[in-house]
Symmetry: C2
Subunit: 119 residues, 2 copies
DNA sequence: CTCCTTGTACGAATTTTTTCGAACTTAACA
DNA sequence: TGTTAAGTTCGAAAAAATTCGTACAAGGAG
């Protein structure tokens, strides 16, 4: 059986799903995408628990319907915050750190340092 | 006639309108407040065109009904982005730069460097 | 006092976002 | 081939944000 993590990135990696170019990133759009606690947690965990390979939707263990998660991941991707690639059945995501740092320096660091609401 | 700008700040300045304490600032709330282009412009101009005194609502010259502007300024104040003081008839605003820098370092700089949509 | 100005409060209409069920697609695998 | 698993798409309902008219309050100037 093939371990998906053995596939190197970017060599042989599938093309990313449609996403805005770095130069088209809009601060107001990115901030809007990050203003949701669930999406903020997604991005933070992608930043802090970065591993040798990107994470799938299900890796986060959110107790939400899959259609809701699709909505939030797409919001992040269309804002340019994350990049998604399709590996077989799985869609793996990672933060576009370089692009964010280039356009909005310090923003990713703020997300990484975020303290989720306690309640 | 009394020039309002002769009133020193903070000596003799009115108390700020109700606002969240610096420790209660929430990143997701602040980002949400900043995700609106009009509010982003308000904050940017407050940062860049800071003068000897805070600016009134009308100083910006927005072509919007006053009730709409009240809504946006209140959103910024309740998120903790701006501080508002009442001087007679006028309500003057300034960015809580120290508090923002303390809690979310670099965020105000991103707003200051923002390029408004050209459309 | 009366008028003018700055801005709020309220409420309603509109728009946007969020949520999620149900049906579907596709790859992997036995 | 048939089943399972990951995730999408569609659509509709619910929730939230936005817009803005009208009425109102209150300070300042004459």
């Amino acid at each position: 059986m093939l371990d998906i993590r053995e596939i190197p990135v970017p060599d042989g990696a599938p093309e990313p799903l449609p996403e805005p170019d770095v130069d088209d990133l809009r601060l107001e759009t990115v901030l809007g995408a990050l203003s949701d606690p669930l999406r903020l947690e997604i991005v933070q965990r992608l930043l802090l628990e970065r591993e040798d390979f990107d994470h799938t939707c299900g890796w986060f263990g959110f107790d939400r319907p899959k259609s809701s998660l699709t909505h939030h991941f797409r919001a992040l991707r269309e804002a340019g915050v994350i990049r998604q690639r399709q590996y077989g059945l799985e869609r793996r995501s990672h933060v576009r750190t370089d692009d964010l740092d280039a356009r909005f320096p310090g923003l990713a660091a703020l997300v990484a340092a975020w303290t989720p609401p306690t309640d």
